[in-house]
Symmetry: D2
């Protein structure tokens, strides 16, 4: 309905292009509410997506529209260099996905990073390189040549879905080489609906930047039929919402991952996210030796707390943007009380939640000496 | 993640193709519950969709996957012959969308109809031709030549979105020609989110088959963010679920349209749908001169009834698959009562709902003469 | 807003009562879709609820309105005989909840069973007696006197929430007495949001009727904020939808329990429910040595299947009213294939799903000898 | 399940009471996001609710639990003085609902206002009096005596649902009397699901405080099955979250009403709410003579804007907490542009939306004279 015949003059063509854009204008964007931390902006990013230019099923502009609707700040289209199953119908042209998507990204304020997926048998497996100027020089016979070509352009490179093939997974010599040459500076701890605990440990041990990406091939909403209603993504703690700031943060390792109902990252970032996401208020010491308070969750990520200390209920769940009322017996109202918990769904290490303390201050005693008759 | 390098042997390529299919296997289909009528099956069809092969944004297989998930029985991919804005990247090949989508359609049991959109300035506008053997012969300079080529293949042809361009709309001589030559046998009373009342009247007056299609360009779920959660579609009342049966029904005009919360069609089909969708039960005459009964709606289409007679509440709404309790004063319990209503969202003509009668029988008096002591 | 001053004549009072009923008329009922089995109707029942007449928080009519809205067929209001925390404001009157709720139940077609909860320290704990004519005679000092009074009225009696108090739970002599005297003929395997595996085993071993009830005290929707969106209930397989038929089925032990996403009951009933809920169709043997078919779930209860045999995918999930496409390698197409699974969420015993077999027939070869030219 | 027998010692009774409270602790509160304005806190209040103590269907504590869950700050239970249909089972005791509900309100931080409904034939109709010390003195034969008794206690009084009885509605002499005596200082422009345009006009003309209340009788979630998913409520713009501050604001007329998807109030309050709820950003002048910007809605109330000026799209809808992208042709980029709209769902008067202007500044031209080579 949005097109017209080949005999139309140019201006009509423009009009039609505008009409096509209208669909997007009828959409709304839902901002993701995960707070900024430590003076950085928390940018929501997906650096691994595909289009019809390799084995994906959508036109490049769709990736931008989806990103805008879903509240993302930055994406990269990373079509395979070596694997082009639609080649007979869509001739290989490595830079086209970026070029096609860019005007739409600019129109919508989505930061678009030029990238690609270097695709080899496992091992070594697949790698994404982003912040490229030109994808073509990476189309080489030898993997190391491709890496060198990317590195020459100042690319940020990471290892994709290392556990994808269970029977061939592992850290091989080639990975050590890529790591030591500083080609490989990050790793996908999460890819799509998979979380890899052993890769999580590698990321910690080797100080690799944590990446979590969707790796979507189909239309986003088709794949995202999870109850969590969001795609896997990398949270980048950037100085500002610009491409250079994202690159700086990736190199510095300032990221965490939002996967299903879990946050995955280094303890320092998870701790900052917890503090920025929660609020204790309405503290009330009662006559029966209990204290009552509310715990509010300002974030889109739920909270699943389990008691590790002696105070407080055994477990506390707080859905996104909800308030939970908590009541617990305490030894006295005259000293502050640390309620010690582990946030089970904030993964500070494989199978290990984040240790947190809800600090409940002592009862405030206001002494009012005179003029009590003036009270209401 | 579902691919691999170019150096893989053929068997691995097959494996990868299978893996790609897995995504679909992880999806579920939701059947549409609109009942069969009058000995015909009510097939849910969308005969107007686009892909990257003209101005759409998805790969042809996506149209099949969407159709399967959304409970459709049959679709056609109808890319424009004349308008190919992606031509630089996806060279023109009119039969490819069908060829690419067919294996997936066969795998999923979706009936795929080969079709195309003949695209001219308005007037005359755009026309869909389906049930083609080969699209190429329709790529002609003159519209009538294209129509003749389609007709020669036994195509079923209709006029798309006649009111699309408000300043150029209308029934022109060319339409009379197409109609009299029996090329044009149907018309889109509904296209996407638009319903055209004046076209509805034409369809009635000229005995044209009612068509309602999505005309989707973007991924289906992206566009289908309406509260109704379904795309516009044609309900085809077919002898069986086969392509020849669909064609026979289209030629015979046995269709209706599901648009938002409305059904649009000839009164005889709407009447049959109403009867098959509703059930009156638990009729109960009460001592205060009222009768009470329930009205159940078995269909996915809500019911919005407005009283036209003297009996019953002023309006009755029954959501899909819900039961409504109705109580109304009646003159007596000894005669049957016709509750006369108009179903406002079943459009029998522009701005005119379907007249229906809920027949409430008289109170059944069971006279039991003897052995009353045997009752429980 | 629905009332008026004390000086109104009687007819206005009636009018106001009618107006109060109107709210209910604005509600809709959602039928629960769990199929009938083995010639019996599957009635949805909750035989354990409370009102302000003991420690509940709603007026008796609310229990009926909730039941109607939520698709239940029968309920009992079972206020505590001995525990009346609102007594100062609502003087004890054991039969009042039933009397107040009855007209509404009759109006809405809800079967209302007169019942009560006999409430003693644990052990022995609490017991429900239903199908009573008068609750008062059960208000006795001694438990056995109360039981005898109920039994004299032909009551059906069961043990409520046996595991309620973890430190005092267990089967004591008093339970043996009640069981041997045939007072206690059923047991709550499920109460509210709790399922008791050890009680499940008792029910099997002692041939006690399986009961699952909500035991709601607050308004139903307030408590039912579970993701499953239904209350715990007893499915009664009754000859017809009448009170005597329900009693006959309870005595005969023909019940199962719907708890969260699980069905709990004797294997014969679960087997029948599985067969009535599922449909295998579109069986298709493919050239690559696989068979493909669809599995449809007609019920509101999801299906969670795990493979126990050699054929088929490792696990299969089918949401309510959805269709899943299944593809699996098979040794040949010339013999039928039993796909052996356990339905993990149909609990045939504690921690033990129901064993089922999806029978996939061999490929049908239709030999057509003559007149092949007549084919379409 | 939460109770025990009458022979339990006192401590067990306490334990049981605590257990009953646990249900509430399992609930979560959803804060309502309608912003504070003009230095005042926007408190969400419902000053008209019923319990079993008159013609409602819930125990008083239920009203508090519902309020907490639904994000309210303050409520009043206003049972009828004169209409007590449950009197036979719940003897009249005007102050009991407040007394029963108060401990729970204190536990949950809900401000509970003691109130009642003075209930007379129409006309004059019904009136709520809140901020009472004792309800009993209002139980008088003469309406004016009841009003005087309330006034003596410093009550705030308003007229409830003036249009409730269509055939008897209107402003009568008695209303003038109540108004002139300054007994009646507010009026329900909204009651439950009804909005009264003519009463809206009275409120404006006579400078009466705008009230919108639920008047719920059934459990809140039972009645609140509207798509809007919130009850009708009064937004009180108070100096702080205390009872005296609410009273001061009611007397001063600082309120608005949230009804379905509409806000209703004096233009000055609606204007402030609009400004606090919306944000224009990402302003971008384009080469084709258009400007593009985003409009974000921070509030739970949607925005439905219709163009009244010359610039901008004809209509703009922004769902709660969503961002809309807007693009419009402008005469130049060198001057600021006022986009003039009316917010159709912010009712400044009957059938009259709020006039607003989106101020889009001129393009900012940053002149950088030297060192352009330093740019990235």
């Amino acid at each position: 309905m949005r097109c017209d015949s080949r005999r139309l003059p140019l201006t009509v063509g423009l009009l039609l292009a505008l009409l096509a854009t209208q669909t997007l204008f009828a959409q709304t964007r839902q901002e993701i509410q995960i707070p900024d931390i430590s003076g950085y902006r928390t940018l929501k990013c997906d650096f691994h997506t595909h289009t019809v230019f390799s084995d994906g099923a959508v036109w490049p502009t769709v990736r931008v529209d989806e990103a805008w609707r879903e509240g993302l700040d930055a994406i990269s289209i990373t079509d395979h260099i070596e694997y082009q199953p639609h080649k007979a119908d869509v001739p290989t042209n490595h830079n086209r996905p970026y070029e096609i998507a860019l005007p739409r990204a600019q129109a919508l304020g989505i930061l678009l990073v030029r990238g690609t997926e270097i695709t080899r048998d496992t091992p070594p497996g697949h790698f994404n390189a982003i912040f490229l100027d030109d994808v073509k020089p990476l189309d080489t016979e030898e993997l190391l040549d491709s890496m060198a070509a990317a590195d020459k352009q100042g690319a940020f490179i990471w290892w994709n879905h290392p556990d994808w093939k269970p029977d061939k997974k592992g850290w091989f010599d080639i990975h050590t080489t890529l790591y030591e040459k500083k080609y490989m500076r990050g790793i996908e701890v999460v890819n799509g609906r998979s979380y890899y605990p052993s890769v999580h440990q590698w990321a910690i041990d080797k100080n690799l930047t944590f990446l979590g990406n969707s790796d979507i091939h189909a239309p986003s909403m088709l794949e995202a039929s999870t109850p969590e209603k969001h795609r896997s993504m990398t949270l980048v703690f950037a100085r500002e919402k610009t491409l250079p700031a994202i690159k700086e943060a990736l190199v510095a390792g300032r990221t965490a991952i939002w996967f299903e109902d879990r946050l995955i990252g280094l303890p320092k970032y998870l701790q900052a996210l917890f503090e920025a996401s929660t609020e204790v208020s309405d503290i009330n010491y009662m006559e029966n030796g209990s204290v009552r308070f509310t715990l509010e969750n300002h974030s889109d990520v739920p909270l699943d707390l389990e008691r590790t200390g002696k105070l407080g209920p055994k477990s506390i769940q707080v859905p996104p943007h909800a308030v939970r009322l908590i009541q617990a017996r305490v030894p006295s109202s005259e000293s502050p009380h640390p309620f010690e918990y582990v946030v089970r769904n904030y993964l500070a290490a494989p199978d290990q939640g984040l240790a947190v303390t809800l600090e409940i201050p002592a009862q405030i005693t206001i002494e009012i000496e005179v003029e009590t008759e003036a009270q209401n």
